[in-house]
Symmetry: C2
Subunit: 143 residues, 2 copies
DNA sequence: TTGTAAATATGTAATGATTACAAAATTAAA
DNA sequence: TTTAATTTTGTAATCATTACATATTTACAA
């Protein structure tokens, strides 16, 4: 359970002015680590903050993402998903129910530095996605 | 340079009827390993096959992707990109110019089997995405 | 405290990738 | 051939996201 104070501090650390809406969105991501979409976040929060606009949700997610406070997941073909936990980890997406779960990944295996040298590039973000069928859906697909 | 015959055989191996349009699209992906979007493929091919519809491109890419003949890349926030080379490798996307390049990845590091056991899931696809700045763009961003 | 500029939030309208769908064209099979 | 099945096409939707203009809130100087 992330307190409002902790959330406020977190935003401030990323040099983001902690407005009422920004705190609410960031706090929602901390408390709901299910990698929601912008629409899901809006639907959940508008029940509590009736005036919250969808544009604000999009703007805020974009701002948080650019500041590095959250991660934007391109794991889904249709919509972006958001993750409030930015520590290094990978994701698994069930192709049937769409659920996204965290899985552990060893950062070292990604060999970022050697790839940067080899291709003369700068790597600022890495995403590892696994797709398949979750424990609840796998039976439906002959696995 | 992939011949029409080789491409035809490739599609047949994946149990896909090798129609004129499907061969053209698959061959285009083989010969242009730059991970194009559906729209880019259509624009390039419609110059040669003026009657080719965008719907056919989308349908075909979806068919090829589901059959496992090509890979659908969700590396981009806006559009899907397609890759005709399905052997295991990772991708780097430049955040400035959008270019996507192949980078090597050691399949073993992904620990697919141990993750399947740990989470009781089936993994059918893995994608590793690196994002940052390419050798041409990095100078523009103080790197 | 009051006034004002800057920052933030809102609502509506556009954008654009992708899909749905029905009709047309092509291919296969009898 | 004749007919059925498959494939392609064009147009019209869908829907996530963004643009943009306006309204509201906040910060800060007087």
């Amino acid at each position: 359970m992330a307190s409002i104070e902790k959330t406020k501090q977190y935003l401030t650390d990323f040099k983001i002015h902690p407005s009422f809406q920004r705190i609410a969105i960031m706090k929602y991501l901390f408390e709901n680590p299910v990698h929601p979409t912008a629409d899901e976040i809006h639907t959940a929060l508008v029940a509590v903050i009736p005036t919250l606009s969808k544009t604000t949700v999009y703007n805020t997610l974009s701002l948080l993402s650019q500041a590095g406070a959250i991660k934007e997941l391109t794991i889904d073909e249709k919509q972006l998903h958001y993750d409030g936990y930015i520590r290094e980890h990978a994701h698994f997406r069930c192709n049937n129910c769409g659920k996204i779960i965290d899985v552990a990944i060893d950062n070292d295996t990604l060999k970022i530095e050697s790839l940067e040298k080899e291709h003369n590039i700068i790597i600022t973000d890495t995403q590892v996605f696994y797709k398949g069928y979750c424990n609840e859906c796998k039976n439906k697909f002959n696995y």
